[in-house]
């Protein structure tokens, strides 16, 4: 089970944090500080897995963003590396060549996409098509609601 996922920039700024296990706020801050420092200090050819306390850390850098997740001892490192990749693919497809700015300005979408992929730290759906379909359906609802709102504003509904 994934314990948490963090996205952070090369400057160590957190862009997204998702906690699947309960940690007190103080501990969360400490974990984010420690892990960003640790991972940013590692060289590029190094291994993507780290032993960290009693967890395993799996991380990978995509352009300017580091994606990092903490998993349990029994979990399969390579597969979580591919969960990260699947998430990146989804972001990329959804935003169209995603960049760090997309995630900053549309952070809520980044969360929604992650929620389609994982629930409670476990993989929910691996099919890219299914997830994109679900996201498209959400956006459609959003557009309909926006149009309805606009029509109401000008007194047409």
């Amino acid at each position: 089970m994934m314990q948490f996922m963090l996205l952070f920039s090369r400057q160590g700024k957190i862009r997204l944090q998702k906690w699947y296990a309960a940690f007190p706020d103080k501990v969360k801050k400490k974990i984010m500080r420690e892990l960003t420092t640790l991972i940013l200090s590692r060289q590029s050819k190094m291994c993507s897995f780290l032993e960290w306390k009693d967890l395993k850390i799996v991380y990978k850098r995509y352009a300017s963003l580091h994606f990092c997740c903490a998993i349990e001892q029994d979990d399969n490192e390579l597969l979580y590396l591919e969960i990260i990749h699947r998430y990146v693919e989804l972001l990329d497809k959804y935003f169209g060549s995603v960049c760090e700015l997309d995630i900053i300005f549309n952070f809520e979408k980044a969360y929604f996409i992650l929620d389609e992929l994982l629930i409670g730290g476990e993989i929910q759906e691996t099919s890219k098509k299914s997830i994109l379909k679900a996201l498209a359906a959400q956006d459609l609802l959003q557009e309909e609601e926006a149009i309805e709102g606009a029509l109401r504003d000008i007194g047409l509904v």
């Binding site: 032993e51 001892q73 399969n76 597969l79 959804y94 900053i104 979408k109 409670g120 691996t126």
Partner: protein, 930 residues
């Protein structure tokens, strides 16, 4: 620059984010944020009611501010309001805020739960999914109580849409982790298992995670999943990559589901049904075969996905540990990864091979890769990979390759990363001792350790080398010569001075005949280091010097000069001053005979074992039978002072001075009441012990003090202390009558095979117990080997001119020799896995006979002697413990798991131990306690 915002776009939010990004300094950013917070606060407090869109926008801004690292203390109510909006986007932001910023203890939880309830019963599946996601995010007990009934229904109902089923399965899993009884056993079991047959791969994947957790709680009940999982797996591994459409990931069919299924099967031993077993083996072979095929894509995703399945299959093969052919193939496959260009694969291969090395069936195959692993140690650029290589070398070491592996590890130690040096030193020390065919080699290795990594050589390591040298005559001369040579290095580590000082003080005479190491040369060499050393080492050297006076009377004068020097006899350090003046007086006053007696060579240390192992907590099970350990060897040198003072050399193991005082034998009745204040038994029939004494005997399983037996005449109480493989019992015999008990005698014995496994020595007792008085008998026990029976205690005495005889048993049980062991979940589970042969495990499922109170259970387990390890078991209601049982011949690592099922009022107790039959003996002792 502002990128396009998707969907309806909250323009105000985008502007705010741009503002923040444009801030030139941290101060400016904080100013801008505070301005925004004030604005939002006033909007929320203002009279004008905000519409949904505005609320959504402000809540979103608060979220953004939170993600920048600022604390948010308002807006929760507005977020909760959004939940009841009929607009999906508003609802969605409300839920997001709650999942990120509301914790399960919030006052708003009642409102939130109400909104979730509404959404859960919505006909719109996207609303249901939002609600399920939120439950899974918060996952509190309250949530489990509120939705525990609904969600299982949603999961198995035929009307539920697939996407909702997926969310429901994982939501249920989360609640199950919080509160295991959300899924009642029985009715749901078969329906949940059959989700493995579902048409929709996404549903199967999600359900598989849930089933895995359920199986861990109750493997027997979910046994049915084995064959379903095997056939599902078989269908996937034989599928072509086009069959599974979008569930094929970079040409690998359903890697996520495959791994989940392979993990699920690791909860069980290999299938009993030959058909299922054959099918599973075919799957595993197919996976191994595919690893040989040329890649279908050059992308790393392809090889990662393919290898994730391969590694999981290998895990299952290692877990089953029953198919030599598969184990060897797995080993060869991992071997080829050891020199793969992908660092990740090398890391994982080293890690998996560590497990293979512990299986007898594959240990030899792993050894073939020794050279590659040594090479990894030398050439890997990443310390985490090198660490894995060290672990593997340690795991693959046996007597055939020990010399080479130790040599390589020593070599690596010279340049090793600081972070892993201490652990490496311990590993080298353990291997050197364990596989020493010749103790001169062992001495060389340890001295090399001190030379190369002196700072990382802990006391345990250098105490141990001294212990071994003192106990082995054949190595003493060699050790003296070697330390003498080592000390000649211009700069040598203080630990070397300590070892050198001790060994020359004992055995310097063995090399004194050589003109290069005459007494005076030895003395000057040691003393040349004296001034650079800490007081503790100086104190040790002073003892060496006084021993030299005895060994070599010709240099007495030189040594007396040193003792007399102001820096010693007037040292500010009390210990140094005391030693210098006492040793000086000793050398002046007493005859050579007395001197020779006082300063006689140290007697051999009792053969107890290395405390190094205790330090290397990471791997205490790997050491095998020859390893023992002790908690704290007395700093041996201090015994000299005691000797000289005429005191008794303290044997700390048997000296329980710090423990609870045992009442004096003149104790009056008050003490009787004190000690036995817990007496509640009413008077019993005199003469013979009624059956009640048996119950009392069992009361001692989880505690050490109490009443063992009581009738109208006599009360027998026990106070016991155990440490390592030794124990001391105080037995208190209290006369409850107004007459003296005459002809009192006791006989303590170990009958039959117990005599070989347990040593018991009892002090004699007074033949009379006065009226109302109490006497005490001390009994020392030592565990030699694991045992099952109790030692017998026969008490005879005359009361009213009638001979009385009590046949009792002493509460000395195997668990008394437990040493609690701390460990993290990683090491727990890796050991649990290692101890997986049927003879190492014992399991019992039984009805609770006492109220199922978690606190009482925890106390009992601690009293049993094991370390309770919280937060290891994914299910917080379960108990997990670890401990090491000490005996003279061996130490046995034991792991325990106790799973209460409150609803059924049942327990399942599983114990695994590194020695056969021990688990069974412990189980028999423990389970009646619950």
């Amino acid at each position: 620059m502002m990128p396009a915002v998707r969907g309806d776009g909250m323009r105000g939010l985008a502007v705010f984010i741009s503002d923040i990004r444009n801030c030139k300094s941290k101060e400016a950013e904080i100013k801008r944020i505070n301005k925004e917070l004030a604005n939002i606060r006033s909007k929320f407090k203002g009279d004008k009611t905000l519409d949904g869109y505005q609320k959504k926008k402000y809540v979103c801004k608060l979220l953004f501010i939170f993600l920048l690292g600022h604390d948010i203390d308002f807006g929760h109510m507005e977020a909760v309001n959004l939940l009841s909006s009929n607009k999906y986007t508003e609802k969605q932001i409300g839920y997001l805020f709650i999942s990120v910023l509301v914790d399960s203890t919030s006052d708003l939880m009642k409102l939130i739960i109400q909104s979730i309830k509404n959404d859960l019963s919505s006909r719109n599946p996207v609303h249901v999914n939002l609600a399920l996601q939120c439950i899974a995010n918060i996952g509190s007990k309250e949530m489990a109580d509120s939705f525990g009934n609904e969600i299982p229904k949603l999961l198995v109902s035929g009307d539920t849409m697939d996407t909702v089923k997926q969310s429901a399965a994982l939501c249920l899993l989360r609640l199950f982790r919080t509160q295991p009884d959300v899924i009642p056993s029985g009715e749901w079991t078969s329906r949940i298992i059959h989700l493995l047959n579902d048409q929709h791969m996404g549903v199967v994947t999600a359900a598989c995670s849930l089933i895995d957790a359920l199986v861990k709680r109750n493997p027997d009940e979910y046994k049915g999943c084995i064959s379903l999982a095997v056939s599902r797996l078989s269908r996937i591994v034989t599928a072509s990559y086009t069959d599974l459409q979008d569930y094929t990931y970079y040409f690998v069919p359903a890697p996520w589901l495959s791994v989940k299924l392979l993990r699920l099967l690791q909860n069980y031993p290999p299938p009993d049904d030959p058909g299922v077993k054959g099918r599973l083996n075919e799957c595993l072979e197919t996976i191994l075969n595919k690893a040989q095929e040329p890649p279908k894509s050059k992308k790393v995703q392809h090889s990662n996905a393919k290898n994730s399945v391969l590694f999981e299959a290998i895990s299952l093969i290692i877990h089953s540990d029953s198919e030599p052919n598969l184990l060897v193939r797995a080993c060869n496959q991992l071997g080829s990864f050891l020199s793969h260009r992908e660092t990740n694969l090398r890391y994982l291969a080293l890690e998996s091979m560590c497990l293979l090395a512990t299986s007898e069936l594959s240990h030899e195959a792993v050894k073939k890769h020794q050279e590659t692993v040594i090479n990894a140690l030398k050439t890997e650029r990443d310390v985490s990979v090198r660490q894995r290589a060290v672990d593997l070398l340690y795991a693959m070491c046996d007597k055939t390759n020990a010399e080479e592996i130790v040599q390589e590890m020593l070599h690596y130690l010279e340049t090793a990363d600081y972070s892993i040096r201490e652990e490496m030193v311990l590993k080298v020390a353990i291997l050197a001792e364990k596989y020493a065919a010749d103790y001169t080699w062992y001495v060389d290795v340890i001295l090399n350790l001190i030379r190369i990594a002196g700072d990382y050589v802990s006391e345990e390591v250098w105490y141990r080398v001294i212990q071994i040298v003192v106990n082995r005559e054949d190595v003493q001369g060699y050790a003296a010569k070697t330390v003498f040579e080592a000390l000649q290095a211009p700069a040598c580590h203080e630990n070397m001075v300590k070892v050198g000082g001790y060994i020359l003080g004992e055995f310097g005479n063995l090399i004194a005949g050589d003109a290069r190491s005459t007494p005076i040369i030895q003395f000057r060499l040691l003393h040349s280091k004296f001034h650079l050393c800490s007081p503790m080492t100086r104190a040790l050297l002073l003892s060496t010097y006084v021993k030299f006076i005895n060994l070599f009377s010709e240099i007495k004068g030189d040594i007396q000069e040193v003792l007399k020097a102001d820096t010693n006899i007037r040292s500010a350090d009390a210990e140094l001053q005391q030693r210098a003046s006492e040793y000086l007086n000793l050398s002046r006053m007493v005859s050579q005979d007395v001197l020779a007696t006082v300063l006689e060579e140290m007697p051999p240390f009792p053969e107890r074992e290395s405390s190094i192992l205790a330090k290397l907590k990471k791997n205490p099970w790997r050491q095998g039978d020859t390893e023992h350990k002790e908690s704290k060897m007395p700093p041996a040198i201090m015994n000299h002072t005691n000797d000289i003072k005429g005191g008794v050399a303290a044997d700390d193991i048997l000296d329980f001075k710090a423990s609870a005082p045992i009442p004096d034998r003149q104790g009056d009745q008050n003490i009787l009441h004190d000690v036995f204040s817990s007496i509640s038994n009413g008077p019993q029939a005199a003469h013979l012990p009624s059956t009640s004494h048996v119950d009392n005997l069992n009361k001692f399983v989880c505690k050490n003090n109490g009443v063992l037996f009581e009738n109208d005449i006599i009360q027998i109480g026990i106070k016991a202390e155990f440490r390592q493989n030794l124990g001391r019992l105080g037995i208190f015999y209290g006369n409850k009558t107004t007459m003296p008990l005459q002809g009192f005698s006791t006989q303590i014995s170990c009958s039959g095979s117990l005599a070989l496994k347990l040593m018991v020595q009892a002090k004699p007792v007074d033949p009379v117990i006065e009226a109302g008085a109490q006497i005490q008998q001390l009994v020392n026990v030592e565990s030699i080997d694991d045992f099952k029976e109790h030692p017998g205690l026969v008490v005879t005495f005359m009361y009213s001119a009638v001979q009385q005889r009590l046949d009792l048993k002493l509460p000395v049980t195997l668990n008394k020799f437990f040493e609690p062991t701390e460990m993290n979940s990683e090491s727990f589970f890796s050991r649990w896995k290692i101890l997986s042969t049927p003879s190492q495990e014992s399991q019992h499922i039984f009805k609770a006979t006492k109220p199922m109170d978690p606190e009482a259970t925890a106390n009992k387990l601690t009293g049993f002697g094991m370390q309770l390890l919280p937060n290891i078991d994914p299910n917080p209601d379960n108990f997990v413990c670890a401990g090491i049982i000490h005996s003279r011949n061996q130490q046995v690592g034991c792991l325990l798991r106790l799973e209460p099922n409150k609803q059924a009022q049942m327990y399942r107790l599983t114990i695994r131990a590194s020695k056969d039959t021990v688990a069974g003996s412990l189980l028999e002792l423990l389970y009646p306690e619950f």
